[in-house]
Amino acid sequence: MAINWFKYSAPATFYELAGKLVPWFAWPSALLFAIGVYIGFFVAPTDAVQGEAYRIIFIHVPSSILSMFLYLIMAGYAALGLIFNTRLSSMMASALAPTGALFAFISLWTGALWGKPMWGAWWVWDARLTSELILLFLYLGFIALHASIDDPRRADRASALLAIVGSVNVPIIYFSVKWWNTLHQGSTVKFTGTSMHVAMQQAMFSVLAACWLYAIAVTLARVRSIILERERNTQWVAELPEARS
């Protein structure tokens, strides 16, 4: 196959491609959200143990999954940018960070709202919630470091190194938090029961797919602005129709 992948790693081509792709991810995402929420609320039966409050997991679990995967993807892009010196990869990494941090926040927020009726406390030092909190800190560190370095090249490379160190550390952190939690007799109520109803699975997977598409759409939209910002002195940006008024 002779597709020239590097063609799309040029910011000028990717800018255009991303602009075309955004609606193709955004609208299916909205549709899947609607389907997932509909199934989650109207089709899925009430959980025997957790009552109606369990319906929070349809948004909680997908956002937790997304926040973890987005960190790994971000670190991957950052590493590509660091090793092969491709500008676009670093831009993608910095475009992914805010979305990942927001998913981590949603996961914490919904976890707290789920925990209050289930555990009787807004915050329980459950291994997964604690790891999620630390993940949010890692995102914030990445964003803060990137924001406080003025030279974009140094900012990209320094935060890339941080993201890589962070992603090496994430499994260690997760393991240590889990270890700590078992020592201190953590919560016994789990988010997912032993057997999930088919409708519950369908709702969860639709929302998960919707979240993926949303993350892709919003990242692509954000990376377009970043590309324009970084490349503003180039010829192709000057010739863009939207930059002429």
Binding site: L138, S148, R154, G166, V168, S176, V177, W179, W180
Partner: protein
């Protein structure tokens, strides 16, 4: 030019940093005093019940050690950066990772080792049993070098940035959480009559991992920051 062996190089860097630090002894003392103060504040904050204090002691000592090792991170490279020595080090034919390792070890001797030596005294403030004190010393001895090593990465990444001091804590503290967990876990295990070996060996594993990876990562970070 005569060729330096790796250990000769290490000794040279450590000796130089120690000598420089001895000329500014106040810096070393400030960190230590901060450590003592933070630990002493806790009984004042939560009340003097010995039962509770005994339970809290390892956590308090470890968190204070974590915070005070953050304090001195800014100094690890900044003086060398400002007077141009760091640039010379980057250009030197010797391995930058080894140079960095030397600086990390010197930093640990100046900021970590005093904390380890001070910790038993503070542990007595919290009425810790002797056996737990020994484990506390062991866990700090294994753990504080890791703090210096992870901290070195953060210090190198934030070199010369405005507001670097706060930023470096923001970057490094989440990465240090495993050390904190295993460090306090070791002491708690002994206090509750279990063996601390598993915790200490995990700390040792972290130390080895950090020893292998962080000098190299820090060297890369320095190259990025000095471009």
């Amino acid at each position: 030019m005569n060729k330096l062996s790796l250990f000769g190089l290490l000794r040279l860097v450590i000796g130089r940093d120690l000598m420089l630090a001895m000329r500014r002894r106040a810096d070393v003392l400030t960190t230590l005093i901060f450590f003592v103060m933070v630990v002493s504040l806790f009984p004042l904050g939560v009340g003097p019940e010995l039962d509770m204090l005994r339970k809290m002691a390892p956590g308090v000592v470890w968190v204070a050690a974590l915070l005070s090792s953050m304090l001195s991170l800014g100094r690890m490279f900044s003086a060398d950066y400002l007077d141009g020595t760091l640039e010379q080090m980057l250009l030197a034919p010797q391995s930058l990772s080894v140079l960095v390792l030397g600086k990390i070890l010197a930093h640990w001797m100046l900021s970590g080792l005093p904390l380890v030596l001070m910790a038993p005294v503070l542990g007595l403030q919290f009425d810790m049993p002797v056996q737990a004190l020994w484990v506390l010393i062991a866990s700090l001895l294994l753990g504080t070098p890791v703090l210096s090593m992870i901290g070195a990465v953060g210090a190198a990444l934030t070199l010369g940035l405005r507001g670097g001091g706060v930023l470096v804590s923001l970057l490094v503290l989440p990465l240090c959480i495993p050390v904190l967990i295993f460090g306090t876990g070791a002491v708690e295990a002994v206090s509750s009559g279990m063996s601390a070996v598993s915790h200490l060996s995990l700390l040792g594993a972290l130390l080895l991992l950090a020893l292998v990876l962080t000098p190299w990562v820090t060297a890369q970070a320095l190259r990025i920051s000095m471009e």
